[in-house]
Symmetry: C2
Subunit: 337 residues, 2 copies
Amino acid sequence: MEAYSQIILASRPKGPPTLRAFRLETAPSPAPAEGQLLLKTTYRSLDPYMRGRMNDAESYAPPVEVGGVMEGEVIAEVVQSRHPAYRGGELVQAKIGWRTHAAVAPEQVEQVETGNNPPSTALGVLGMPGFTAYSGMKVIGQPRPGETVVVAAASGPVGSLVGQLAKLAGARAVGIAGGSAKCAYVRDQLGFDAVIDYRAQGLARALAAACPDGIDVYFENVGGPIWEAVLPLLNRYARVPVCGLVAYYNGEIPQDETRISRTMITVLRRSLLIRGFINTEFVPDHYESFLKELSSLVAYGKIHYREDITEGLASAPEAFIGMLSGRNFGKTLVHVS
Amino acid sequence: MEAYSQIILASRPKGPPTLRAFRLETAPSPAPAEGQLLLKTTYRSLDPYMRGRMNDAESYAPPVEVGGVMEGEVIAEVVQSRHPAYRGGELVQAKIGWRTHAAVAPEQVEQVETGNNPPSTALGVLGMPGFTAYSGMKVIGQPRPGETVVVAAASGPVGSLVGQLAKLAGARAVGIAGGSAKCAYVRDQLGFDAVIDYRAQGLARALAAACPDGIDVYFENVGGPIWEAVLPLLNRYARVPVCGLVAYYNGEIPQDETRISRTMITVLRRSLLIRGFINTEFVPDHYESFLKELSSLVAYGKIHYREDITEGLASAPEAFIGMLSGRNFGKTLVHVS
């Protein structure tokens, strides 16, 4: 006879969770209704985002209720099918939470699509973590040959793929990982060009040494001191896809970091795009249409403008100083002659 | 007889510049060589970015030397032409600095292209400030009908155009300006939907009230307390083009703001792109190719992955806790049955 069990969020942890945050309990025996499937978990995925669901705070998904089953995805076997499209013994993917068993409708399950690879990869390199790395690099990071790509948690499911995709794109991959075993794996097995052990002293200096040409793509999944070390090394037009901020998931933000952390946490929670620019960058593609459209809009009074004009070159410093403190009213100009 | 004069950077200011930072001096009489033009400034542009050039610090352009002429663009009249393509009396644009006159080669001047509009607009709405607003909105902000666009310095050359372009795109425009005259201009003349006087109390509350549906585009040209007020109101997928950070140009960053400011200043100086994302956003466009490409790469050993598998659902909490503190080594999985 099977043990039906599940893991409950017993209490919301403050800081790093301890075992007291969880409770293993016997689950009700799941009875699939007509048209449903009875699933038995084969592989349960554990992912950093789940720490966020344990907090009663804004995030990109609602929190788990205290007393509720911990959420997340599994690979499961269909042990009983009451639906004609499924047979017992089939493997599927589903979000049934931290349970050994669940009765679900067919709409709640997906095929395990891993080609010739083991089914467990559907939770890792061929699943959500892999796709996070892939899409973040494809859509945002866009590494080019010769560029330098940095990623932390480099031996993990996201970081390991980020670095390998960087290499496949012809870029240099620099990883950050904790401890010599992980660092050796990242360098020797994954083929990163350099790896830094963040537990060793001097992260900022080691990172600068590993990135002599600066950083073009920083794939952000950690935050905290690693972001602080990366920031000064970012090259112009660097891209920083932000997919996670594990350093802050426990809710412990050092006081002097609260403001920067709030910015980055908001970037993540709301999928913000922040982009510095100097207008000259866009001149080749957009200046001609700008001048054409705006000249006409201004001439026809569809766009208003205002000028704040002072007389004589000698007035320039005072006008400039006034402008900086907001005493100007419109575009500041000096009429010289 | 004409007075030839120029304004020199006399000393690097600490904090807000005073008149002592500048020196008006008689300039050498400029003598155009064969093939050159003698220009006489008609309009001198004053722009916030010039404050940055007064500092001896990293920025997107080198600083003005102490003792050097302050830099920037003018509209000037050709008063003497020693080049066949130019005639006396013509108006041109050129970067001759804060001078009344300059002798320049034709390659250093540009046509004044303002259509039927006054030549001074080539320094404002139809020049660099206008194009900054236009390109930042076109390339990064991309306001859509019904969205809310916020911009500070809303009566200035950049902000006024940002808001009007937002309106033309069918979005709501919310401006921030200092004092009742500017606020009235922004609302009544420029047609913004709402305007907030940042000198009045309660910026954060007033901004929240003016943006009941949150903020979709914040055109950042100020930084400081305004960024702090905007951040909590940004909607998911909000865009924040950053073209300036006037609040920090004087180099006075409150201690508790240094870290967030360093992030934003770096975003600006290096034209960084920071973009939060949750992978689900990219599923429709990219999931199919991800699975196809990666399945093959993994199967052929071109991409490596690693799994850290513990046994039994009861081990999940400990594995999860360990993963959060980096004790896992690869994708964390629980093998349940």
